[in-house]
């Protein structure tokens, strides 16, 4: 979904600028620069920003962002405040999200101070099917029925998911 991706681009560009500003201030005060931040999008947002997947699946999303963050606390504070401005909330439970073995991460935005990656769609679906099947029942059915995710069924079963649950 292009709208979601464009909005994310605006958000992370703003974060990039703010980190730049923080670094300039710190430099003037003789402090240490903050390190480059890394964001890995998980969950529904990782599917929504993927054009191919968005064309296959019917997606709905609440206003929370699931993501693994590797950043200084001051940068996280800035990110939370930018997200709020855009009507989004960072889900603090994101660290509990299970990432299935074999997951790949592709770069979405490679900015000077922030790099944003996204989990591959099939792995996002496997994670949902195994750990949150109730909330994602219809989504997983649609993904399986589409036949577009070649190893989805095998990976769900291999990781302890119950295919019968979706039948």
């Amino acid at each position: 979904m292009e709208v979601a991706k464009k909005q994310l681009e605006l958000i992370f560009k703003e974060l990039n600028e703010r980190v730049d500003f923080i670094n300039k201030e710190r430099l003037e005060e003789g402090g240490l620069r903050v390190s480059r931040a890394e964001v890995i999008l998980l969950g529904q947002m990782s599917l929504l920003v993927n054009k191919k997947v968005s064309a296959i699946l019917s997606l709905a999303q609440t206003a929370d962002i699931d993501a693994q963050l590797d950043m200084d606390s001051v940068v996280k504070k800035e990110l939370t405040s930018i997200l709020k401005k855009y009507g989004l909330i960072y889900d603090e439970d994101s660290k509990l999200i299970w990432i299935p073995p074999g997951a790949k991460f592709e770069i979405l935005f490679d900015l000077k101070k922030v790099v944003v990656k996204s989990i591959d769609p099939e792995s996002a679906l496997v994670s949902k099917a195994v750990k949150a099947p109730v909330k994602n029942k219809q989504l997983i059915r649609e993904a399986i029925a589409s036949g577009k995710f070649k190893t989805l069924i095998a990976r769900i079963e291999k990781n302890g998911g119950k295919l019968e649950f979706f039948a």
Partner: protein, 175 residues
């Protein structure tokens, strides 16, 4: 059921899900919740910001088509009560959940969703700036002020180019 049967049933149910996504109950609930900013979607759904929803229909859509509808529904009903037909006797669990949100009390899970998860949407900033999060909504209070205080308020509001309420708030908060 063998594997082939399971896959066949999944395909059948996926077809049924697709049909359900054309159901007016789903389209109305999604059209409203997306228009108000509680949900986002990649589906071409007509936005219905002025829609009044039957809770029975919205709950059906949440249980049968898109479970995320259920997650935001309590906060949506609390913040936009005029758009729903909430009835304590028809939906006692939802009513109790909304009361818990309003009173900031401990509440029970609703439709299997813990309070922590559906509480978040009460404070969400929505695109429609007229709808303030619950913690920012103004509360009516009546005070009997002396004529001298009223004069000061009038003077300050004129000076600062704001309403008397804003002037009073400024004095209270900024000293």
């Amino acid at each position: 059921m063998n594997r082939a049967d399971v896959l066949k049933r999944i395909a059948e149910k996926a077809k049924k899900d697709k049909k359900f996504r054309q159901d007016p109950r789903y389209l109305q609930a999604m059209g409203f919740l997306v228009a108000k900013g509680f949900l986002r979607t990649n589906q071409a759904i007509p936005l219905l910001p002025n829609q009044r929803l039957r809770l029975t229909d919205a709950i059906w859509a949440g249980k049968n088509v898109e479970p995320r509808i259920l997650e935001v529904l309590p906060a949506a009903v609390l913040r936009l009560p005029n758009h729903f037909d909430l009835n304590q006797f028809e939906h006692p669990d939802l009513f109790a959940a909304i009361e818990a949100l309003r009173e900031k009390k401990k509440g029970q899970p609703l439709w299997g969703i813990p309070l922590k998860k559906y509480k978040v949407w009460v404070e969400l900033i929505l695109p429609d700036k007229r709808m303030k999060p619950l913690n920012e909504k103004k509360v009516v209070k009546t005070f009997r002020l002396s004529p001298k205080s009223i004069e000061v308020l009038k003077k300050r509001s004129k000076e600062w180019g704001c309403s008397k309420t804003d002037a009073l708030e400024k004095i209270l908060l900024e000293g």
